[in-house]
């Protein structure tokens, strides 16, 4: 049942796209609650669960209980079939929840009952309502057992058939992020934080007018051609070298398999979030480092937004599509860039930053220079290629790590 349906249509969504974030099941609800707690503004956040007790503990504006007649307000007991039935049973409430939305972001921790079973149903309903449906799904830690892993795999398959795009965050990869002494609660908390960052940056990208705009159409374009499988990566930097720090954090992140996914991706959507001190040089630096790692000819979408409150802080969010099926030219995300660039930027700065920002062939020139200049004694040998990277180029260069004397 909807507890406060009046909240659905409102929310800080601008630029003509309304976003609703739906947390499904125990894990999904925890994640959205954590997200919501950290935001002062943002899209509509809703929690959907079979377990009434867990649901009432979830501090988000909209709460929907499903499957009352099936589970009597208890959880789905780890059975995805129960979760599925529950969602089908309360299809009307779910439909109402997303009826006004242009974008529905489903957040679910796969492997359990409600999240795994209900997420594909939720995605189908959202799409039937005409909304673009994105799903952030975590897959279980290895230690959670084989059954959960199998459930998650089945859930993921079903979800990929229903949602426009599925972004998976394997919890197992997060293990690399946390220290060995990290408690269990913290480990799961970390997963939630990661989900939160991903959803938040997506919302920001689409709803805030950026200095370099990236909009709903770009995202739709990426989603339509990506075959529905995306990975998500995140890097943050502060201080004077914030651009390099953010890039190196992104590259090191286990979320993108330490840059491997980045180098294999067919298409990339890059969102740069900075403070008023974000410079075009920063943007250029980031994009040239990314294009150096990425596959030649990668489809690149990029956007940059400025947050007045962020002094000397920069976040970098990347959606990487494993494959790219589109052909021909894109709606040229970079074409509008020089016109939309920050006022007062010198004309030469515009032309200077045009090349690395543009996609595909236009980015090849600086990449080539970069390669031969850094191969040193391996200049004339057959390159050692591995997973799209030329291993002859120093690792620190490929990871975009600055040495102290260069700063």
């Amino acid at each position: 049942m909807l507890e406060s349906a009046d909240n659905v249509a409102v929310g800080g969504v601008t630029k003509g796209s309304r976003m609703v974030i739906v947390g499904l099941g125990g894990g999904g609800c925890n994640a959205v609650a954590r997200m919501h707690a950290g935001w002062s503004d943002g899209p509509v956040v809703a929690a959907v669960n079979t377990d009434s007790q867990a649901l009432s503990a979830c501090r988000v504006p909209v709460r929907v209980q499903i499957g009352k007649g099936i589970t009597q307000g208890l959880g789905a007991g780890g059975d995805p079939a129960v979760g599925k039935l529950a969602a089908e049973d309360d299809g009307d409430s779910l439909r109402e929840l997303v009826s006004q939305a242009d974008i529905v972001v489903i957040v679910a921790a796969l492997g359990g009952g409600t999240g795994t079973g209900a997420a594909p149903i939720m995605a189908r309903i959202a799409r039937e309502q005409g909304a673009m449906t994105l799903c952030f799904a975590t897959t279980p830690f290895d230690f959670e057992g084989e059954l959960k892993t199998r459930h998650a795999e089945e859930g993921l398959r079903a979800l990929r058939m229903q949602a426009d795009v599925v972004i998976t965050l394997p919890n197992q990869r997060l293990l690399e992020l946390v220290e060995t002494q990290t408690g269990l609660v913290d480990a799961f908390g970390k997963a939630d934080v990661m989900l939160g960052v991903g959803v938040r940056s997506l919302w920001k990208l689409l709803s805030k007018a950026g200095i370099i705009n990236l909009d709903f159409a770009d995202l739709r374009h990426l989603v339509e051609h990506s075959g529905g499988v995306c990975s998500f990566g995140y890097g943050e930097g502060t201080g004077t070298a914030k651009a390099s720090v953010a890039v190196s954090e992104l590259m090191k992140s286990p979320l993108l398999d330490r840059g491997r996914i980045l180098s294999q991706a067919g298409a990339l959507m890059v969102s740069i979030n900075g403070g008023p001190d974000l410079t075009l040089v920063d943007v250029q630096k980031i994009m040239s480092q990314l294009t150096a790692v990425a596959r030649p000819g990668v489809k690149l979408f990029m956007g940059a937004t400025v947050d007045e409150a962020w002094q000397s802080r920069l976040t970098l969010t990347v959606l990487a599509a494993e494959s790219w099926t589109g052909e021909g030219d894109l709606p040229a995300p970079a074409a509008g860039f020089p016109e939309k660039a920050v006022e007062g930027s010198a004309p030469e700065a515009r032309t200077g930053s045009k090349a690395p920002v543009s996609a595909g062939a236009r980015a090849i020139q600086p990449t080539l220079n970069f390669d031969t200049g850094d191969k040193g004694r391996f200049k004339n040998t057959e390159p050692t290629l591995y997973a799209g990277e030329d291993l002859d180029i120093p690792t620190f260069v490929r990871r975009g790590i600055k040495l102290s004397f260069e700063k």
């Binding site: 004694r377 391996f378 057959e382 050692t384 291993l391 120093p394 620190f396 260069v397 040495l403 004397f405």
Partner: protein, 401 residues
């Protein structure tokens, strides 16, 4: 002298070396001669400058001849290179005799079948190593002779490389009028030299961190499960340092050897190393933290290449014996710490085992491959004498025990 003499030769990226060994009564390998020459004309384990490579081989063999007081006519050659890789091929034969009892000839037959793998024409098989037999549905049989069944299968690990590259190395040796008796993959040789029977039993990975290549061989469940090579090595570390700190290669090499570390050492973070003023370059100092960052990132990446292979082949959890490092880069400070961190397994630097003679050879991990080659050569020579026909015997002896 009736004991067989063996000469192993390795045309490495950093050093060309030859060792002379003889078999002792107690089964140990006695090293009686060594010749080494800094390598020129080799990159990533492959010949790029034929004439220079020939000159180095000639010099190394000459030194070994002097040192060991013998004349070298033939060598056992260690080969490596990023082109070397492996696959598992399964062959099956029906058991034809009326009693359905597996005989030696069935075993020979199935191994022949499993060995017959079709590779692209530009590839050459280096080794075929039997992993397991399968009798009907029973998997993982070590010795099927005498068992009953209707079908016998064998899994054969095929290690292969690019024909032309392998030919080029052999051609270099032939150019100095020396015969190549046998070739073997460097990773396999290193494993042979450093692993104990217990290591093989428990499951181990040997990583030979060489100058131009990183070779690996995985033992799991008492058989060789995988092998391969990456064209990345110590040369890359040196190059990274030279590019990163903008110093000459020779200076980078010295820095790597004296101050390089596989982990960034917190204690040394703020320290600096002075670089001597050299022909036109002013004296300057480099930060140890910069140096460590460069070396750490490269070593970590290199080890992760092997880890990715292990993960893909689902072998990481079968390695109770852990990681054994060999090769020149195994000398790098903190390398054991880094490998333990990367693999999450116990790790050690492997020294050649069961060898006597020259102390440098028996102590250094960089000699693992060549000592392994000498042992491999000796064993196969002895074996050939004893039972010329039974290939099974050789394989069992060399790769299992």
């Amino acid at each position: 002298m009736n004991l067989p003499l063996i000469v192993a030769l390795e045309i490495g990226t950093t050093v060309v070396r030859a060792v002379i060994g003889e078999s002792r009564a107690d089964g140990h390998l006695m090293i009686t001669g060594l010749g080494e020459c800094p390598s020129r004309g080799v990159r990533k384990g492959e010949i790029v400058d034929f004439d220079n490579a020939v000159a180095c081989v000639r010099e190394a063999l000459r030194l070994a001849e002097e040192n060991g007081r013998v004349i070298i006519n033939q060598v056992h050659l260690v080969v490596s290179g990023g082109h070397i890789t492996s696959l598992v091929n399964r062959g099956s034969v029906p058991i034809m005799n009326s009693r359905k009892e597996i005989t030696e000839s069935d075993i020979d037959h199935v191994m022949e079948t499993a060995r017959a793998v079709s590779l692209p024409t530009d590839r050459q098989v280096l080794h075929t190593i039997c992993q397991y037999f399968h009798v009907d549905d029973q998997e993982g049989v070590i010795d099927p002779e005498g068992m009953e069944g209707s079908k016998l299968s064998a899994d054969m690990l095929i290690i292969h490389g690019l024909l032309m590259r392998l030919r080029n190395v052999v051609k270099v040796v032939r150019s100095v009028q020396v015969d190549v008796e046998d070739v073997a993959f460097g990773g396999l040789c290193a494993a042979l030299a450093v692993l104990t029977a217990e290591d093989k039993e428990a499951g181990s990975v040997v990583i030979d961190l060489g100058g131009g290549t990183t070779d690996y061989v995985v033992y799991a469940h008492s058989a060789i499960a995988a092998a391969g090579s990456f064209g990345v090595g110590g040369d890359h570390i040196t190059n990274d340092i030279a590019r990163g700190l903008r110093i000459p290669i020779a200076e980078a090499e010295r820095l790597k050897e004296e101050h390089g570390s596989a982990m960034v050492e917190m204690a040394a973070r703020s320290q600096k190393v002075a670089l001597p003023a050299e022909s036109g370059l002013a004296e300057r100092a480099v930060k140890v933290s910069d140096l460590h960052t460069i070396t750490h990132l490269r070593m970590e990446e290199t080890l992760n290449l092997v880890k990715t292979e292990l993960l893909e082949k689902n072998l990481l959890h079968s390695l109770g014996g852990g990681v054994v490092l060999a090769g020149g880069c195994a000398h790098m400070k903190n390398i054991v710490k880094l490998a333990e961190k990367v693999f999450g397994l116990p790790c050690r630097v492997g020294k050649p085992r069961g060898v006597a003679g020259l102390a440098v050879v028996t102590e250094g991990p960089e000699y693992a491959a060549i000592v392994g080659m000498a042992r491999y050569g000796l064993k196969s020579m002895e074996q050939k004498e004893r039972e010329r026909k039974s290939i099974l015997g050789i394989l069992k002896d060399i790769f299992r025990k």
